[in-house]
């Protein structure tokens, strides 16, 4: 049985979205993704991952702030409530961009009820999940459970209102903002470096496309580039190179530790340990106070 089915079965594979996970929602998640992608990029030395992580962290931070300010037309209830935890997305962005130490935890989050007794209750013989699913009903389609969950509507994201907004400029102007966007500042799926939506792009591909657009966008380059850090900051690139060298050294150290030296001692019984030819003996030059000239 594939491991995924085993784990999904015993855990009762459940979408965080359908379980009603509170918190930052969309932009917080994007910011968190930026953090972990930047972390891996910093260790592996992948400038692509560093750029993707940086842009994701920037998008998460700016998105959370923009939602709180009401600058985004399709703010859902979750995004509005994200104001209290906006600091989390911004801090994640700071840490991803500058490598700063983690700041103190966000306030206002309810305590998660994750008691060990409840965790062990997941494996009650009478049911396969803690959700009260009947034994036997959860076995079918376990391998496909993730796909099924993806098809479910996510009540935390107001997808219907998102679908109605086709021109972000019009939406923004309808909110009363009079600033005119410079040419080329809109990012459109399919019109930039991305393939059209729904073509099967991965999350990282989508972020990379956005990063490529951001890199070419002159306005963003002059304003937002400073926030991206790992993407455009030469100092950050130097830090990456240093981390890369340190990582290589650590890997070599681990390899050396695991490498058992082969002692190729060979005995040659017939060889004499004594010299066969006399060697001139050169007495070492005596030095010292008594020999000083």
């Amino acid at each position: 049985m594939p491991a995924v089915a085993v784990l999904a079965g015993v855990a009762g594979a459940t979408s965080l979205a359908t379980a009603g996970v509170a918190g930052l929602g969309l932009f917080g998640t994007i910011g968190a993704i930026g953090g972990i992608v930047s972390a891996v990029g910093a260790v592996t030395g992948s400038k692509d991952l560093m750029k993707i992580g940086g842009i994701a962290a920037l998008a998460g931070g700016v998105g959370a702030f923009a939602t709180n300010q009401g600058w985004l037309a399709s703010a859902s209830a979750t995004e509005t409530a994200a104001g209290a935890t906006q600091g989390g997305a911004i801090e994640a962005m700071k840490n991803a961009a500058s490598g700063a130490e983690a700041v103190s935890p966000t306030a206002g989050l309810a305590e998660a009820n994750l008691a060990q007794q409840e965790a062990s209750g997941l494996f009650n013989a009478d049911k396969l999940s803690p959700l009260g699913m009947e034994s036997g009903t959860a076995t079918a389609g376990l391998v496909d459970s993730t796909t099924d969950l993806m098809a479910q509507k996510n009540p935390l994201l107001d997808t219907s209102s998102s679908a109605s907004i086709t021109n972000p400029t019009d939406a923004r102007l309808s909110l009363g903002t009079q600033t005119t966007l410079p040419p080329g500042s809109t990012f459109t799926l399919g019109a930039n470096t991305l393939s059209p939506a729904g073509s099967g792009n991965s999350i990282l591909d989508t972020l990379k496309g956005f990063g490529d657009w951001a890199e070419k966008n002159k306005t963003l380059a002059s304003i937002g580039a400073n926030f991206i850090g790992g993407a455009f900051d030469k100092r950050k690139a130097a830090e990456v190179d240093l981390l890369k060298a340190q990582t290589a050294a650590l890997q070599q150290q681990a390899a050396n530790a695991n490498d058992v030296p082969k002692l190729g001692l060979k005995l040659t019984p017939k060889a004499s340990i004594f010299r066969t030819q006399p060697v001139a003996y050169n007495a070492p030059m005596a030095t010292g106070l008594f020999n000083a000239r």
Binding site: A3, A19, V21, T29, A32, V40
Partner: protein, 160 residues
């Protein structure tokens, strides 16, 4: 402490981005308790040994466990912390797989694990590539707006 220095360094970098340490620790503790429960661990070990792609399967399994914990948390588990905790669990699982001789962790494997985890995790938070693209599309005008970015910069410095 993870045995593989590459994984430990990655864990250290992720720790710097953790925004809610208390929730992070709770998720990791509860998930670890779940994974290392004797009955579960035996079944997982058996499954992994037979898997064609253990890294991908482990990623999906971790996401499943976090999803179950989220449902038990009754809507109080933050998305961002779940992502960070999940990746931390992924690193621990990679270390285990390497110790078991099933994988060799290097830069390429680490990047594959990251990709597998993200692709498994994000749809379960409601974030697909299409929705991400739509969100970024809406965000682009803000990123190009001097006035709004100045306000954002001020907020980062603690002014807002």
């Amino acid at each position: 402490m993870l045995k593989n220095p590459l994984l430990q360094k990655t864990q250290d970098e992720i720790d710097k981005t953790v925004t809610d340490r208390a929730s992070f620790d709770k998720i990791v503790r509860a998930a670890t308790k779940t994974i290392y429960d004797k009955d579960v661990f035996d079944r997982i070990s058996q499954g992994i040994a037979q898997s064609q792609d253990p890294v991908s399967d482990v990623a999906k399994g971790i996401v499943g466990i976090i999803g179950a914990l989220a449902s038990r948390a009754q809507g109080t588990m933050p998305h961002d912390v779940a992502v960070q905790a999940g990746m931390s669990l992924m690193l621990d699982a990679l270390d285990f797989l390497e110790q078991a001789g099933l994988v060799q962790v290097d830069n390429a494997m680490l990047e594959k694990a990251l990709n597998d985890f993200i692709e498994a995790m994000l749809p379960n938070t409601g974030l697909t590539a299409e929705k991400l693209g739509s969100a970024l599309q809406q965000l682009a005008p803000v990123l190009g707006n001097e006035e709004q970015m100045a306000k954002f910069e001020a907020s980062m410095k603690g002014g807002a």
